[in-house]
């Protein structure tokens, strides 16, 4: 039997091949057939989860609640030292110096990454902005969010911090950061579904020990990680509660 593995569609384009390399490594280590399916967007990925067509997932924190509470997934590991943070950015020439200066009708460029969007909209609340009184300009990538700002089509952009930091210096010099989140407890997590759960302990141990071999470190590098750390059930429950509290 082949199990299904998938990655949160907000993966960085630089790491697509890394995920395939990781999957090959994982199959070799477990002696288990695992098929990696990359979905283009969250919607199609959620349909697959709903249809029980996912057994292993590098999940967006926003989907953790659904995976754990409705689909019986449990957490395995998270990348060492990585958390999801959001940044509120304007054009460098913008008159806005403080988020509170935005008014109704503000045009917000963002991707559909659900956790970043949630954190970003919370950082816009001091201006009383919400989904109803603002205009959302959806973009397929963070590069396009930057483009919206540079071309003056959007008043403000919401970025994943890591994606913003990786923009070229030329682009960043024409943008201005208003707020950077410092939440540190919201993170992506590799999670395992019910069909694979009999092998949970073994897979978790393999992942935690991955940075101990040359080959493992090489694979991690292709993902942009330095290692995996174990995530316990309560840590995930707490993150779910936190996301839940932020969603209202």
């Amino acid at each position: 039997m082949t199990f299904q593995f998938t990655v949160s569609p907000d993966f960085s384009p630089d790491h697509i091949s890394g995920w395939y390399i990781f999957n090959t490594w994982l199959q070799k280590q477990t002696g288990q057939g695992i098929h990696l399916e990359m979905y283009n967007n969250f919607q199609t990925q959620r349909v697959a989860i709903e249809n029980d067509a996912v057994d292993l997932i590098y999940a967006n924190p926003f989907d953790a609640a659904m995976l754990v509470r409705n689909k019986g997934f449990s957490p395995l590991v998270k990348p060492f030292g990585v958390s999801d943070e959001a940044i509120i950015v304007v054009n460098a020439d913008s008159q806005i110096l403080d988020v509170a200066d935005f008014g109704p009708g503000t045009k917000i460029a963002s991707t559909d990454d659900p956790d970043v969007l949630l954190m970003g909209m919370i950082m816009l609340e001091p201006a009383d902005l919400n989904a109803q009184n603002s205009v959302k300009i959806g973009c397929d990538s963070y590069i396009l969010v930057a483009k919206q700002l540079l071309q003056g089509n959007s008043d403000v952009g919401i970025f994943l911090a890591e994606a913003y930091d990786n923009l070229s210096n030329m682009v960043k010099s024409r943008l201005k950061v208003l707020v950077r989140s410092e939440i540190s407890v919201i993170h992506h997590c590799l999670m395992i579904g019910p069909k694979l759960s009999p092998r949970k302990q073994e897979i978790q141990d393999l992942l935690v020990g991955m940075d101990m071999t040359d080959k493992g470190r090489e694979v991690l590098k292709s993902l942009g990680f330095s290692g995996w750390v174990k995530v316990g059930e309560e840590e995930t429950e707490f993150m779910i509660d936190l996301m839940d509290a932020l969603s209202v």
């Binding site: 509170a100 950082m123 001091p126 009383d128 939440i183 407890v185 936190l242 839940d244 932020l246 209202v248």
Partner: protein
């Protein structure tokens, strides 16, 4: 709970006596100094079922002015500001005890007598179908909301 000490207070202060849950009374000192909410941060704490603090994050410690040791084990009313009407907290407890989310704008009192406004969401932490604790996640409120609540709370006192 810790007593307020005049030497901890920064600036001119007034005094008030708070009547807290369980017949507890606390003399507090408070000033007119507002500390702005730190941009981009969430202030997070967890209490046991009786409202005693069991966990605080770094932003909580920084904003409250207390050390983590002073906070853990203390009732959450350690932050109670005399301008907050008790009906707000009655509503908070009634709501979370029903297993629901409570949201409100809260004025909190720091150890140094200054205050800070937060938009708080309090949720019950449910494990294996039972409420085991409560968590509050706070974010920066808008000035409009703060002004509305300043008036509202004054009328509820």
């Amino acid at each position: 709970m810790l007593d307020f000490k005049p030497e901890d207070i920064v600036g001119d202060y007034k005094e008030a006596v708070l009547d807290l849950y369980g017949g507890l009374r606390r003399l507090v000192f408070y000033t007119e100094i507002e500390i702005p909410y730190p941009d981009g941060k969430l202030i997070v704490s967890t209490t046991d079922k009786n409202g005693f603090i069991t966990h605080v994050n770094k932003a909580f410690v920084e904003m409250s002015g207390y050390s983590e040791d002073e906070l853990i084990g203390s009732p959450h009313s350690i932050l109670r500001h005399p301008d907050m009407p008790s009906v707000a907290f009655k509503d908070l407890w009634d709501t979370v005890n029903r297993g629901e989310h409570w949201q409100g704008i809260v004025k909190n009192l720091r150890k140094d007598g200054a205050y800070y406004w937060v938009k708080a969401t309090v949720i019950p932490n449910i494990r294996q179908g039972k409420i085991v604790s409560y968590t509050s996640v706070r974010r920066k409120p808008s000035r409009t909301k703060v002004e509305e609540c300043t008036k509202l709370y004054a009328s509820l006192k």
